[in-house]
Symmetry: C2
Amino acid sequence: MRTIAIDAMGGDLAPDEVVKGVATASLQTDIQCVLVGDERRIQEILERVEYNPEQIDIHPAGEVIGMAEEPKDAVRHKRDASILVAARLVADGGADALVSAGNTGAAVLACARHFQVIPGIRKTALASVYPRQTEYPGQDHLALLLDVGATIRCDAIELVQFALMGGAYAKRVSKVASPRVALLNMGTEPTKGSAELVEAHRALQALSGVNFIGNIEGNDLVKGKADVIVTEGLVGNVALKLLEGLAEVMVDMAGAAAEESWRWRLGMRMLAGGVDRLRELADYTTYGGAPILGFQNLFIKAHGRSPARAITNAVKVAAKAARDGVPEEIALGIAGLR
Amino acid sequence: MRTIAIDAMGGDLAPDEVVKGVATASLQTDIQCVLVGDERRIQEILERVEYNPEQIDIHPAGEVIGMAEEPKDAVRHKRDASILVAARLVADGGADALVSAGNTGAAVLACARHFQVIPGIRKTALASVYPRQTEYPGQDHLALLLDVGATIRCDAIELVQFALMGGAYAKRVSKVASPRVALLNMGTEPTKGSAELVEAHRALQALSGVNFIGNIEGNDLVKGKADVIVTEGLVGNVALKLLEGLAEVMVDMAGAAAEESWRWRLGMRMLAGGVDRLRELADYTTYGGAPILGFQNLFIKAHGRSPARAITNAVKVAAKAARDGVPEEIALGIAGLR
């Protein structure tokens, strides 16, 4: 039985959807949840929904960091912000992992302030799952991309560490026993790309413990070639947001066309399942949340627009990752590197 | 009246589709075309199609660089390869611009060997057009992304030069009088991203002659915010190939689903126009070709899988860009920088 601290005040739809999502988790699982934030508001929302009171505690926090606030300033001045209080709670052993749908920059800073970095890790990484095609039956339909914005540039050692961390996370959380790890590059040949990429490629090939399949290119991101894709933050951030933007455009296009013509409208009704699939793609960020890897404590960042079911899911993922010992797995891998 | 040299032997569908595409161009336009390659094979293909013999010449070249050949070795050893002969022809004034659907690396090296770099240009850039949503009536439905793979890393001055070159190309070739130029970054604030991006942002804001709108993020790539998007080659290459891969996946998905169920099949028939639109998106690389910018001569790289109509289009784009003086426009802009 694991305890998860949830930043009740973070996210575009907080605290309502966050509290509702946690209420659902308390009914569906045996996870202990600690909602961190405005006690009175959280209580009000809980009174309107079904939940298991034995699995939900409230931990008060008097301030909130807004989605648009400048992270550094906010973290410096709002010492009682829900995300900081929740991170402290986890660091002090009051919970096993942290979930927040709030301001990403502030959340990363809160972790950096309160969590211990795993010995040997040079840079923590923000990872994200996204849906893609699968290549064989049983492959997880979600892949893991890291880093997606915590770093800008990485050297070879940092890329190797990301590969190790992503592999460990996927091994524990996805359905795949030996996740295929790849470097994102502008060509498949080992000599392609920057000096850092070439060196990381060489190091990963020599490394046991990571199922390294070499370089993949941008078009392979949406195919099932690799389960864990490693890149520096600028590239990962652009790729992830592009995926998100494209999915939104497709849903828009389908919707607009459906309004325009009866043929489309009728066709769309026929395709109901297909459109749902498209919408699901646009919605993918609600699936599993984005883990920050490299700290001794786990943090799952849910999408800013997360509805209740995304929060429920993030809480489940956080509990699974904590129970399955993701940080310990990473620590072992890093120790083996040295 | 412009003369365009075409590498008849380059591309997955060469020489057949290349020669057919040029034949069509000779009927639809007043462009003079020089087909460079195996004289006998070119003649054989021409005999099977309609064309205007007054507008097509053949220039012999005895060797071919294959799509999968290692570019450096191939360019070093095959001195009589069609792409090298065609580049020499343009450099010697025998044609105004070059079109090839062949091995991209070899084509870039052929240009580097025979073309003069515009004075002041530090790095040439490979640009690519791609379709996106438009924000206002009259905006071109294609945007220009550069660099997409000629460089790996860029410093601030190189990014500024790319912005200038892309802006000049879009001004001449697209339908937009004052193309909106943006830097691709991991946030919209001027202080986001690497030191190079921050410095390039500052320099572009101070620069007249470029309609700089600031940073855009990955999701904005598929929207109409910017007409010219500037980034270093690794990021641009990943983003472009991801766009291509996603479009392919969507067409696959629609096709597979249509085979699976009568509902989908019927729905798809209703949506015929919509599926064509999807297919067009997957096909976007056939639209306008990818210019290499920074040389005194123009080179338009057509997609490796270009069918005849894509070649026709690339020839038209090359002629337009040469007639409208794109290299001269870039030279003026660069001179103004110093």
